[in-house]
Subunit: 151 residues, 2 copies
DNA sequence: GGCTTGCTTGGAGTGCACTCGAAGGTCATA
DNA sequence: TATGACCTTCGAGTGCACTCCAAGCAAGCC
């Protein structure tokens, strides 16, 4: 697929197996973001970020010497995935399950694949539903545009 | 647009302005469904149907001489629309607003049109998001399929 | 030292969309 | 006429995904 070695997949729970255009605010090596920086670049709230960690949806985030969270680029990528999955309507519990599988290492590849394939089917179904709804909306909008202008 | 006269649009709050393939269980005239019949053909629960009425999301449903609900084909069409709008993620409060506009009559055509156009934009955005997510899922699934098989 | 800003924790609270329960009335069939 | 399924109302309860709060620690600055 690409150059990312499989070991990288398991070296840290963040599960970066396919590179996006890596628009990280800082290059790897200088990536120690405070929670408010992560808030600024993800749009999530600090409350939500801490809550994600509490429920096991985030791999354990690194801390500063005073105990404050320091997020990495990898954490940002993970949050990006979580955000996308959330948009599909995937329940948080299922995402936690996926996070657990990632933590368990390479032995769970098959199960992860199945989970994502199920999600993929859900997304396709959802898109189909939305298309149908769009058709209804278009008919109604057309009606209002036509009838609304003739009276 | 089609043969449905504009007056029909306002004759009853159900707002049937664009005909779907009218797959109604019974022809107009014999359309007096009990709540459990509506449950069977919409997939909504009786609780939800009563609740929709309580919060003003349903036009007032006809009653039998003993006070039991009797739904019409028009009510079924309205529920179909509501179900579709719900799938778009539209908040119930917004749907109630739309229902109010329908109840107010033809004078609200423009506002209804704007509301639906906004919804339309939301749906398009949602589809775009889902497509992006789909791309990420495909890349990840591909990774698991490839890496998973070589180990 | 005092002030402000930003962070920590655990637990409690919120808003949405249902979902259920209790108490009782109605209706078709045996 | 009696049984049981089905209906009514209103109010309370549930589950999810946050969202907020209080109390307290730490760092930077005047």
């Amino acid at each position: 697929m690409q150059t990312t070695p499989a070991t990288l997949e398991d070296s840290h729970p963040a599960d970066i197996c396919s590179a996006r255009p890596p628009r990280h605010p800082r290059p790897d090596g200088q990536d120690r973001y405070t929670i408010s920086e992560v808030v600024a670049c993800t749009g999530l709230t600090a409350h939500t970020l801490r809550w994600y960690e509490r429920i096991g949806l985030m791999p354990h985030v690194d801390r500063s010497h005073t105990g404050q969270r320091r997020y990495t680029n990898r954490d940002l990528d993970w949050l990006d995935l979580v955000t996308k999955l959330r948009l599909t309507g995937m329940p948080v519990a299922d995402m936690v399950r996926y996070a657990e599988l990632v933590r368990e290492g390479a032995g769970t590849y098959r199960e992860r694949q199945e989970l994502l394939e199920q999600t993929r089917r859900d997304v396709l179904g959802r898109i189909a539903e939305l298309r149908e709804t769009l058709a209804v909306l278009d008919r109604k909008i057309d009606f209002y545009a036509t009838e609304g202008n003739t009276r």
